[in-house]
């Protein structure tokens, strides 16, 4: 037993992990790699290569992100941002993604940009730009006559522009094989291909109104026109949206449209001139809201298709068969009319075609050949949210089938339902996150109140109150004692995180998304969504601010309305109606309860606040305005930048920005006093090719400091931040005179009360000052660094008391990461061109180096690809060492950072087990040795006297 204990003790001395921070990944941070809302036509299941067993879920989202998601677990395998390389496109550009089974290639199109990617790992195969043309449609050629099955498939793309062009692009290189120009001025609509022909469908404006559908057949080998015919559809087709479907890559491609009253469905099998008309049997009494056609896209599949009708409250569908030989279309069967919404999807298994119908209560699968239901699964308890569209994959084994469907819900979630069970949900709506805030838990509120009571009572009264409070606390003792063994056990066995919950390090985050929904993310559980609620009354909103109170949060939208939510459940507690359009929200927090004031577009506070205080606002005409809180008629001051400059950004010190020391102790132990004022505003104004940073005093509107840079590329990101007694900014600067530097620059400026140590400037030892009467100017020390990439956003870490070293949080859009630069590295007093003296070394200064290389250890996002971050927030915790960081924009990323190491927390290397075992071993040793020693002592006494 002793040997075992000794071995155990020895074993626990070995550090548990040698790579220090590796084990903290996924423990202190979480990341939602999001794609955005999947486009209906560009989402599908696909086997990435012929040899792979499972298929992956591919999508090109409306945010122009192309990605592959593993259907098991729902995590992202790879993604590519197409809008990075494409020229800026308008929002209604087509997002097209096509793929063919067994080729390991995807072809995507966005605006003028065509690219091909490997399906397995998302690597670029080829890309091609067609300036002044936009891709209208895209198909992969599935040629039957090609020998065997080619590993690469050529692309046929239809371009709109001055003239419509059909191009066949090589599957390996993306080079044009042939072009077919159509200069008739018709609207290029879609292309479709059969095994022997390429069909180019365009809309020909008729002389009266409406469009005729023109079908041009092209030879796929050389692009020559083989035949052309026009379908008389001008009475039905009023715009491109009127055509319901142009069949792509089926054995018998077809065009479907409906008449304007939606009473008849018209179908033309491409290549024939015959248009068949079917009456739509609408017995619901409601008008049909939409008609959607679902058809299989694979060449070998049966030529069946499904037409989905939707009215306000019911949905039904009809299945049609196309006879390949005669080219005639016949209705096969109906799918019953059901209340509520339905989402249909098509899937193939070899030649068989299956239609999957998802309703709010169940999933059903039917074969295209007959109306018998092959599989029916009821969904779990809460009725499913409305699905807008879905894709499915059906596997059949004998008579039974299994299905998994990825449904895009109206709330922006992407959900995988496997045989009626929800496997995973991706909250893609979080890509449109507009504001976020940490929840303030109300557990401590009662205590705070009690302490306030004690503070206001007399000494004896307060003492009695306290004794009573503690006596009351004793009622929790039995519970506490009951939970004690468990707590001890868990604290020994598990990681520290569960024990630190009380220190505010796992506060939930509220995120308000563009689609009017509010999400609560649980930091303790990898950022899982705890609840979500539709807080906006409209479909979308523009959130200006989230302000949290203990237990609740108020969200302010730009129309002046606000919603108060219960922070723990998401229940809407209060709603205030829209008033005036606001551009921002000011929070006046002097005295007891904070007062919020909306700031109108022109910079005028919407309300008057009684009490002291000043508001500083931006107006839409590009000036900074200062207001006395009690007067919103006339600004107290107005700041306009120099002529030709326009304000692009304004920032102030964070509302929670504690300063641990008011001076900086130098090596010789004298003090350089910091210029600390909560009323500093840093204004960024850009000119033609210059940028100016104005440091303003917000009370008097005086300019305290200006820095001007020429040769600046103002299209590149310019970021700035101000905190404590320093500010930092970055921009791209070119060489104007030979001493300048060219490249991305990061400038740090520190403000001091005086250039002389031990001097507090003109105000001397005065304990307060008025900005209006006598405001001294700061002594500014600056240093500039060259950095390797642009910074799009800056923030500063916040801790409870500001003792911990601050980090400058920079968002790097090129590297898709967030870097935290420690402030000591950016000290503006680093000696230039010489080694530091002994005194400077004592201060921690080291030699200035103009190039600032981002250390790998500074990357808070480490290996993660955190894309599209627009805002980074930081909040203190109860632990001085720890700060919470939350970044949102496109992705969601959060981390718990310790800029000066976790000095107030026992680390993982601290082995509680070892400690306990040591104590136990020592106790046993004492217990064994004590009687022995006692016996020996008695013996010595007795034996000596005898």
């Amino acid at each position: 037993m002793w040997l075992q204990a000794t071995l155990l003790l020895l074993a626990s001395c070995v550090p548990s992990s040698l790579a220090i921070y590796f084990d903290e990944v996924n423990h202190v941070d979480y990341h939602h790699a999001l794609l955005g809302f999947p486009s209906p036509q560009s989402t599908f299941f696909l086997k990435p290569s012929a040899s792979s067993h499972g298929s992956l879920l591919y999508t090109l989202s409306e945010n122009s992100l192309l990605g592959a998601v593993n259907p098991k677990g729902g995590f992202l395998l790879w993604r590519q941002n197409l809008s990075r390389t494409a020229l800026p496109v308008d929002s209604n550009a087509h997002h097209l993604l096509r793929a063919s089974e067994g080729t390991n290639a995807l072809v995507s199109a966005l605006g003028d940009y065509l690219s091909s990617w490997t399906a397995l790992d998302g690597k670029l195969i080829w890309e091609n730009w067609f300036v002044d043309e936009t891709v209208a449609d895209l198909e992969l050629l599935e040629l039957e006559d090609a020998t065997a099955s080619p590993s690469v498939k050529d692309t046929v793309a239809l371009f709109g522009g001055k003239a419509a062009v059909v191009r066949r692009l090589d599957g390996d290189s993306g080079k044009t094989k042939w072009e077919h120009f159509d200069e008739s001025g018709d609207i290029p609509f879609q292309i479709s291909s059969s095994s022997t022909e390429v069909f180019y469908v365009s809309l020909q404006p008729s002389s009266r109104k409406g469009y005729r559908i023109k079908v041009t057949s092209l030879n796929p080998l050389n692009g020559r026109q083989t035949q052309q015919h026009v379908l008389n559809s001008e009475s039905d087709v009023t715009s491109a949206d009127s055509v319901l479907f142009v069949g792509a890559n089926t054995a018998a491609p077809f065009i479907a449209w409906a008449d304007q009253s939606r009473k008849a469905l018209k179908v033309n099998v491409i290549g024939t001139k015959q248009v068949q008309t079917f009456d739509i049997e609408n017995t619901s009494g409601e008008s049909i809201r939409s008609i959607t056609v679902h058809a299989p896209k694979k060449l070998e599949s049966l030529t069946h298709f499904l037409v989905h009708y939707e009215t306000e409250s019911t949905t039904w569908a009809e299945v049609y068969h196309i006879n390949l030989k005669s080219g005639s279309v016949s209705k096969a069967y109906d799918l019953p009319r059901l209340e509520g919404w339905s989402a249909f999807s098509t899937s193939n298994k070899d030649a068989n075609v299956y239609f999957t119908r998802i309703t709010q209560s169940e999933t059903t699968v039917v074969s295209s050949a007959s109306h018998g239901i092959l599989g029916r699964w009821t969904h779990q308890a809460p009725p499913m949210e409305q699905a807008l569209h879905s894709v499915s994959e059906v596997v059949s084994k004998g008579d039974t089938v299994a299905v998994r469907s990825a449904a895009v819900l109206a709330s922006g979630d992407w959900q995988l339902i496997r045989n009626g069970q929800t496997e995973w949900t991706r909250y893609e709506a979080l890509t449109g996150a507009q504001a976020a805030a940490w929840v303030e838990e109300d557990t401590q509120e009662d205590l705070v109140h009690q302490l306030q009571v004690e503070g206001h009572e007399s000494l004896s009264g307060a003492y009695l109150h306290r004794v009573k409070r503690h006596a009351r606390d004793l009622q929790h003792l039995p519970e506490w004692l009951k939970g004690l063994p468990k707590r001890i056990l868990t604290s020994i066995l598990t990681d520290e995180v569960s024990n630190l919950d009380g220190y505010g390090i796992v506060k939930p985050v509220l995120v308000a998304a563009e689609n009017g929904r509010v999400y609560s993310l649980d930091a303790g559980n990898h950022g899982a969504v705890v609840w979500k609620v539709k807080a906006a009354e409209a479909e979308s909103w523009n959130v200006k601010a989230i302000l949290t109170q203990p237990g609740s949060a108020t969200i302010y939208a730009d129309d002046g309305s606000s919603v108060t939510l219960d922070a723990s459940t998401g229940e809407i507690l209060e709603r205030s109606p829209a008033t005036v359009k606001i551009r921002s929200v000011a929070v006046a927090s002097d005295g007891t309860s904070p007062v919020t004031v909306g700031i109108q577009e022109n910079g005028v506070p919407a309300e008057v606040v009684n009490g002291p205080g000043f508001f500083v606002t931006l107006s839409d005409d590009g000036s900074v305005l200062g207001w006395i809180a009690s007067d919103n008629q006339r600004p107290a001051w107005q700041f306009r930048p120099a002529h030709g400059e326009k304000i692009i950004h304004a920032t102030s010190r964070p509302s929670h920005d504690p300063v641990a020391s008011i001076g900086k102790v130098l090596g010789n132990r004298s003090v350089l006093y910091k210029y600390l004022s909560p009323n500093l505003a840093l204004i960024t104004a850009v000119g033609e090719n210059s940028v100016t940073f104005y440091l303003l005093d917000a009370i008097s509107g005086r300019i305290l400091h200006t820095s001007f840079h020429q040769g600046v590329d103002t299209t590149q990101p310019i970021a700035s931040v101000i905190s404590e007694n320093w500010f930092a900014y970055s921009f791209w600067g070119d060489v104007i005179d030979p001493s300048d530097a060219k490249g991305y620059q990061l400038v740090i400026s520190e403000l001091y009360e005086s250039s002389i140590p031990n001097d507090r400037g003109p105000l001397g030892s005065a304990s307060n000052y008025s900005s209006i009467a006598d405001l001294p100017l700061p002594h500014v020390i600056s240093q500039a660094y060259i950095i390797s990439e642009p910074i799009s956003h800056m923030a500063v870490t916040q801790t409870r008391q500001g003792i911990t070293v601050r980090q400058l949080l920079c968002t790097l859009p090129k590297a898709n990461s967030i870097v935290g630069i420690p402030r000591p590295v950016l000290d503006a007093r680093r000696p230039v061109g010489r080694d530091p003296t002994a005194n400077e070394q004592e201060e921690g200064l080291f030699k200035y180096n103009p190039f600032l290389q981002f250390d790998g250890k500074w990357y808070l996002t480490h290996g993660r690809d955190v894309a599209g971050i627009k805002t980074v927030l930081s909040a203190p915790t109860m632990l001085e060492s720890t700060t919470l960081i939350f970044a949102f924009g496109s992705d969601i990323f959060a981390i718990r950072a310790t800029p000066s190491q976790a000095f107030d927390v026992l680390g993982k290397s601290f082995s509680k087990l070892q400690l306990v075992l040591t104590i136990v071993a020592l106790s046993i040793g004492v217990a064994v040795l004590a009687p022995m020693v006692r016996r020996k002592q008695i013996n010595t006494i007795w034996k000596a006297t005898s």
């Binding site: 004031v597 205080g613 020391s661 003090v671 009370i699 307060n768 000052y769 008025s770």
Partner: protein
């Protein structure tokens, strides 16, 4: 109350033997010649001791006082001999805050302070009526010497940066200058 034994036990054998003087040698025994190499000096030593005792006995009290004062001076000046040694040790130990240098500084303070407290006790044995006036000067010098050692300690503590003599030592007690006005920003 513990009862005492009525008769004290007889003293042990060795006490009795020790208390009884050595019996004089018998004539026979004294006639035995000493072994070669043994010099019987006992008597000579005794004689000399008796002589010196006879000489010191009549010494005058003035001389004793002079001697005492001389002895007291020696004690008073003793700390001055420590100063150079301590100075070198302090210089060598460096100004960093380590357990070794802290202990040395502690000893440096402990010695002089104890010495100062015990000033009178140290010179008590030399204090007679005749030397009393002269000892005052001696004590003063002793105190000065101890203060010298103390100064060395203070110098060392200052060199170690432990004395709050600079502005930075009082920085924590200085407060941030409060603005009278407060601005609320709404830059959005």
């Amino acid at each position: 109350m513990a009862s005492l034994p009525l008769n004290p036990p007889p003293p042990p054998q060795w006490v009795v033997r020790m208390n009884t003087p050595m019996p004089s040698l018998s004539k026979d025994a004294s006639s035995i010649p000493d072994p070669p190499g043994y010099a019987k000096k006992m008597s000579a030593k005794n004689q000399r001791a008796q002589q010196s005792a006879a000489a010191s006995a009549p010494a005058k009290p003035v001389e004793t006082d002079t001697l005492k004062v001389k002895k007291a001076w020696e004690i008073a000046l003793a700390p001055s001999k420590q100063i150079p040694m301590n100075a070198i040790m302090m210089y060598m130990s460096g100004n960093s805050l380590q357990i070794f240098s802290i202990m040395m500084v502690f000893m440096l303070f402990k010695g002089p302070i104890q010495g100062l407290i015990n000033t009178n006790a140290v010179f008590a044995k030399f204090d007679t009526e005749g030397t009393h006036a002269k000892l005052l000067g001696v004590k003063a010098i002793y105190v000065v010497m101890q203060l010298g050692l103390l100064c060395l300690g203070v110098w060392k503590v200052n060199a170690m940066g432990l004395l709050p003599t600079t502005r930075s030592d009082w920085l924590a007690w200085e407060s941030e200058r409060q603005p009278l006005e407060r601005a609320y920003f709404a830059f959005g």
